[in-house]
């Protein structure tokens, strides 16, 4: 089948390691830890106090068209990252009308704009719901994030919002890829955004899933995840269009696989059936086999259950090659940025393909007895990456694997 090939030509990142692709990528390769005490609210009522918050983010420095104060913080992260991705791709700040109509947005999130509903609830508890913000409907519903991105960059094609929880970024990349292949659009911004929120923190703390000190994915002593925040956005276009305009190409979106565990809302299937199906589907859609995979960007949250099941799933798929396939989780450094996580990790895969470096799993001391994989402990590794697999798993049992491949010059 002669279908349109989709490539990554621009990246934008807002992460706890820094605002921008360079500080994030350099921080990850240096193994820098961006988790620490929660600052944005009083963690006193909780038994844990670690978070991965973004400090020093000034939306006004990034946004050109949308007034920062008119949109929520998740939209600010998303629009800033989108603005960076457009610039990184070498596209004009304002697209021509014809180009705008052929340009779309697909974004993912877990919690949308939770600060808006937190304010709404504060008013409700105070008995003042009748005086709640009249702009709540323009600011809260999660779809506004994608629309705010479109407004910022002037795109007027399809605008999609996928709230597929912690696999949302990969779902957005998959959706964008599908729209590009169908011929409906010529370029897409795809990514994810989430903010640090008391709702999310309350939930994970109540589940006992928040680590007391550091996030140690796949480690024997792992004690949980650390909630974070941020945004990752990729500029995707067809290979043909990218070559025609002489764009710098990071990697090709080689394929993707989506599945659902249909097993449990918050816990993974014990033998990783859904995760295996998503990885298999991604490989078959890319015409690849497990032996082709140079690097696996793991979901790797640092919880007992996730990491055990993910290691089982990788072992099942890769078989005898499993121990020879490097697997790492950047959540050890930037925490779990929720709906942004797989989008940020997708950008990391694209960078790994371009630069031939893979980030480590930080805070790693000793492997678990049932996890015998190469977790790239603590030190980044120089490695030619021909095919990178980005895995994401979510509440609701959603699984999404996306493959990034090197494009021959």
């Amino acid at each position: 089948m002669n279908r349109r090939r989709v490539v990554v030509t621009g990246l934008g990142l807002v992460t706890p390691l820094g605002v921008g692709t360079a500080p994030t990528w350099q921080g990850l390769l240096a193994g820098r830890i961006a988790t620490g005490p929660v600052r944005s609210f009083d963690a006193g009522p909780y038994r844990v106090d670690r978070g991965a918050e973004i400090t020093g983010f000034c939306p006004e420095h990034h946004l050109q068209r949308v007034p920062a104060e008119s949109i929520g913080r998740a939209s600010q992260f998303a629009a800033a990252a989108a603005r960076m991705a457009v610039a990184d791709a070498g596209l004009d700040d304002v697209p021509s009308p014809a180009m705008a109509e052929r340009s779309g947005v697909a974004m993912g999130t877990t919690s949308g704009e939770p600060a808006e509903i937190e304010r709404f609830d504060d008013a409700w508890i105070a008995g003042r719901s009748a005086e709640s913000d009249p702009r709540f409907v323009q600011r809260y519903p999660f779809h506004v994030i994608a629309q705010n991105v479109a407004a910022e960059v002037g795109f007027r094609g399809p605008v999609r919002m996928l709230p597929n929880a912690c696999a949302a970024g990969n779902y957005a990349v998959a959706q964008a890829t599908e729209l590009l292949r169908s011929g409906a659009v010529d370029r897409m911004l795809a990514g994810g955004a989430d903010i640090f929120s008391r709702i999310t923190y309350s939930g994970f703390a109540r589940l006992g899933a928040v680590a007391p000190d550091r996030c140690r994915p796949f480690d024997r002593e792992r004690r949980g995840m650390i909630p974070g925040e941020g945004a990752g956005v990729l500029l995707l276009e067809t290979l043909e269009a990218a070559r025609a305009r002489g764009a710098h190409i990071y990697a090709e979106v080689a394929g993707y696989g989506l599945s659902c565990d249909a097993h449990h809302m918050t816990g993974a299937h014990p033998t990783g059936d859904g995760a295996v199906r998503a990885m298999e589907r991604a490989l078959s859609s890319a015409g690849a086999v497990p032996g082709d995979v140079s690097y696996v960007s793991a979901h790797g949250t640092g919880t007992q259950a996730n990491d055990r099941v993910e290691a089982i799933a990788i072992q099942r798929l890769f078989g005898a090659r499993a121990a020879a396939t490097p697997v790492s989780s950047i959540k050890s450094m930037i925490g779990h940025t929720m709906g942004a996580a797989s989008a940020i990790e997708a950008a990391v895969c694209a960078l790994a393909v371009r630069d031939g470096w893979i980030p480590p799993t930080a805070n790693f001391v000793a492997a678990d007895d049932d996890c015998h994989l190469d977790f790239v402990p603590n030190v980044a590794r120089r490695l030619p990456v021909k095919l990178a697999m980005n895995n994401a798993y979510a509440f609701g049992g959603s699984n999404a694997s996306v493959l990034f491949r090197a494009v021959d010059a």
Binding site: I117, S129, R156, T266
Partner: protein
């Protein structure tokens, strides 16, 4: 040539009926599901029209012994629609065990009630008193996850936002997932739940029609009637609708009836124009997606037999939608039969686009398109054919359009299946 995609079953819980034939009969008869809000603690809402599900009892669909505890309101509605759609399309448990079925769900507020209650409990009682079960339902894809667990739907599981446009997007995305080979069958549609939170914030934004006898913020006595001169906002509704979507050749092979073909869809966004500027970029964007969808379907404007509009009684939104339609259809616009189901069902947000699609399927089947329920005086000068009563129509090609909040637009073309098995190859 890409594969042709069809609908092989539908399940719904709506304010008028929970069965497609009864749903269509009620719409044809001009039934309206509106009733006043009775909410003494929130005076700004009392008396406003809304359209809740009447006596919704999920046990009726999920089984008398079903454990409902894990499901919140949105989850119960969606799971009910899933149960009905699986049954109607013949996708038995053994088939689902052998072949992954996907689920694509449009929504706006999803579990907003759950999220708000969870947050307030953490604030008032302390974070150690929130329930883990509730936290699982605070993610916007919880309803889709819960339905997948209950019915072993192991294919792609996606939720899409955007309210009025969401279910239309979901149908287009489901067709795309099948064409790309990612999955062979997808339940697609949408869900939203009426909640006090949703009513409060919609009222605060001036989007809801006023209580009978009261004047709304624009100073006019209102009615939530699409395209009517009296319109002053929508009546908030709710519900869940799922269609089973499959490649037509697969469906024919298993002997499934094909209710309609999903032919084409197109989608865009435009920043809403400044009031009084004379420009309506959203209408222009709608005209563009309608033209694209018709062109992809190989249809000239005069080959379109019916239009199912998302007009809800919104003061400017209804006019925008009519403008976009007329701009795309040209001279044919005034000859095409029009329906707008929100006059009967209210603004059901995530479920709305699927309800709009369903009315076209009903008219394809029995040859009658419901009118615009409640219409007394159509807005003059729109250039579209408005009537309150049902009309006879030989409906082969139907158009669904949706205009969302803040500039999203969608168009979808559906076609009557006329039973040539070779045409599907």
């Amino acid at each position: 040539m890409s594969r042709r995609i069809g609908i092989t079953g539908v399940g719904l819980v709506s304010a008028l009926a929970d069965e497609p034939l009864a749903f269509h009969r009620a719409l044809r008869a001009g039934a309206r599901a509106l009733q006043p809000v009775v909410e003494e603690s929130l005076p700004d809402l009392a008396g406003r029209p809304h359209a809740p599900l009447p006596d919704f009892a999920p046990e009726r669909y999920l089984g008398a012994d079903a454990n409902l505890r894990p499901l919140d309101g949105a989850g119960r509605r969606l799971a009910s629609a899933a149960a009905l759609a699986l049954d109607a399309s013949g996708w038995s448990p053994s088939m689902r065990a052998a072949e992954p079925v996907g689920l694509v769900v449009g929504t706006m507020f999803a579990g907003m009630r759950t999220i708000a209650e969870f947050d307030r409990r953490a604030l008032e009682a302390g974070p150690q008193y929130v329930m883990p079960l509730d936290f699982a339902n605070t993610v916007f894809n919880a309803a889709a996850g819960q339905a997948a667990i209950r019915y072993r739907l192991t294919g792609p599981n996606a939720t899409l936002g955007g309210g009025p446009v969401a279910a239309v997007q979901a149908l287009g995305y489901a067709a795309q997932l099948i064409r790309s080979g990612q999955v062979r069958a997808v339940l697609a549609g949408g869900v939203d739940e009426l909640s006090r939170e949703a009513l409060v914030c919609m009222a605060r934004a001036g989007l809801l029609s006023a209580a009978a006898g009261a004047e709304n913020s624009s100073g006019r006595p209102g009615a939530p009637v699409p395209f009517d001169t009296r319109r002053d906002g929508c009546a908030l509704g709710e519900g869940a609708v799922l269609f089973m979507i499959e490649a037509i050749d697969d469906a024919l092979e298993r002997g499934a009836p094909i209710l309609a073909e999903i032919v084409s869809s197109a989608s865009a966004w435009a920043p809403p124009g400044e009031a009084g500027s004379g420009e309506d970029p959203v209408a222009d964007a709608l005209a563009r997606v309608i033209s694209t969808a018709l062109a992809d379907a190989g249809l000239a404007p005069e080959q379109l037999d019916a239009w199912s509009s998302s007009a809800s009684g919104a003061i400017s939104g209804d006019v925008t939608e009519a403008r976009g339609f007329v701009a795309a259809l040209g001279a044919a616009a005034s000859t095409i039969a029009v329906t707008a189901v929100k006059g009967a069902l209210g603004e059901a947000l995530g479920a709305a686009g699927a309800l709009q699609t369903l009315v076209l399927l009903g008219a394809m089947r029995d040859g009658f398109l419901p009118g615009v329920a409640g219409l007394e005086a159509g807005e003059p000068g729109l250039g579209i054919r408005l009537q309150a009563a049902e009309q006879a129509v030989d409906l082969k090609n139907g158009l669904v359009t949706a205009v969302g909040f803040e500039g999203a637009v969608e168009a979808l073309v559906v076609r009557r299946w006329e039973g040539d098995p070779h045409a599907a190859r």
